[in-house]
């Protein structure tokens, strides 16, 4: 699908997702980046599934919420996530909570801890991934 078509209609696959999901993706991209990003850079980072205008709208909305800051960059703005001053306190509280083994009953973690054997096995799986995927098809 040509890029231009997505830009004009604003109706690409990614654009039809709920606004909250798009905001989450954009904020994540800003946090993952090393420095401030322009809307174009965010669009590139997210793989081009979003129209530039959509990205700009989301960034403006995030800025209005105070979640990201922006600085002039060329003709537009470059955006960066607002660092929060409570980060350190939160980390300490988190460590306190982590001591409780039973917290796993409250939270479903994305990944659990790896044993050394798991780690080896996992590396082998990911390295041999194309082959492994072909074998099973």
């Amino acid at each position: 699908m040509p890029e231009g078509q997505i830009d004009e209609s604003g109706d690409g696959r990614a654009d039809r997702r709920p606004a909250g999901e798009l905001e989450a993706g954009v904020l994540a991209a800003l946090w993952a980046a090393d420095g401030p990003l322009t809307p174009g850079a965010v669009q590139l980072e997210l793989g081009g599934g979003l129209a530039r205008t959509t990205v700009t709208t989301i960034l403006t909305r995030l800025h209005a919420k105070g979640v990201v800051s922006r600085a002039r960059s060329g003709r537009g703005y470059a955006y960066a996530p607002v660092q929060d001053s409570h980060g350190l306190t939160a980390r300490r509280m988190h460590a306190e909570l982590d001591k409780d083994e039973d917290r796993r009953t409250v939270l479903a973690r994305f990944v659990s801890d790896l044993s050394p054997e798991d780690e080896e096995l996992l590396r082998a799986l990911l390295e041999g991934e194309p082959g492994a995927a072909d074998d099973t098809r």
Binding site: P18, A19, G20, E21, L22, E23, A24, G25, L27, A28, A29, W31, A32, E45, L46, G47, L62, K65, V67, P81, Q83, D84, H86, G87, A90, R91, M93, H94, A95, L97, D98, K99, D100, E101, D102, R103, R104, T105, V106, L107, A108, R109, F110, V111, S112, D113, L114, S115, E117, D118, E119, L121, L122, L125, L126, E129, A132, A133, T136, R137
Partner: protein, 333 residues
Amino acid sequence: MIYAVWLPLLVPLLAAPLARRGAESLPPRAAAWALTCLALALALSSTAALTLLALDGALRLPFVAALGHLSPNLLGDGSPATAPAAVLAAVALVGLGALVLHRARRHVRELRAVHGQLADHASAGDLTVRQDDGPDAYALPGRPGRIVVTTGMLRALSAPEREVLFAHERAHLAGRHHVFLAAAEFAAALHPALRGLRAPLSYALERWADECAARVTGDRALTARAVGRAALAVSAAGPRPRPRLSLTATAGPVPRRVTALLAPAPTIARTHHLFPRALAALLLACVALSATAALEAATDLHAGIETAQGESAGHGFGDAYGDGDGDGDGDGN
């Protein structure tokens, strides 16, 4: 009290290991439902059995009998084990009740604590970013539910991999997976043998969310890579402060999830094999046995009470003691 009352207390010892085997051969969603329903059914049956044992003993106490307008003698003498069993059952019930209450309150308190500490963190949509170099990510249930991801995890993954992570956590929230976990925790508090079902359940829930993420992103290999790379990033950042006593000797959950994602999507067709079917039948039999035994014991106790009540209401006290003894013995045994 009839012997059937002991069955619901013993069945979980047999059913829990069977269920662990059986869950492996089911698709993740079916496995999660099966494990949760099994745990709840067995836990409720065994609690019912404890209640019946305690009631059976309690009815022989003069003031309880007076309260129910029944004649203790008509309940029969019971076996010599009636009194100690009833005392043990009552103690167990009080202990379990306190444990369940304690766990529930702690559960709510912890959720509140996590929600509270996230209140002033950067949020957009359903995502809350926590500034922390240690990679971590989890779904935080609530209204609304949130996806919590540390900056360390965001940096460890590429943009498409982050979408996998978000889709996975959204599946947890949309499927209300925390309710399954809480139900299993509740069941485990009621019968210790059911504790063994928590690990296979949480694995089934992770697999369920993995499959959802693979469907949303349309790329199983990408999903496998995201899970694997996230786990390696956590591993590289050093062990978590949380004590972990249950490190398995065989392959842990993450390599198994990655392997499953690199294979084609699981289908129900796999359950047509003989072994899972036999196992499922056996587990259903376990649940039926537990529930029937508890029901049988309840009916038995009820019949005993009816006898003792009916006779004492129909006749004077002297008559009841004199005439009804034989009947009461027969029923209450």
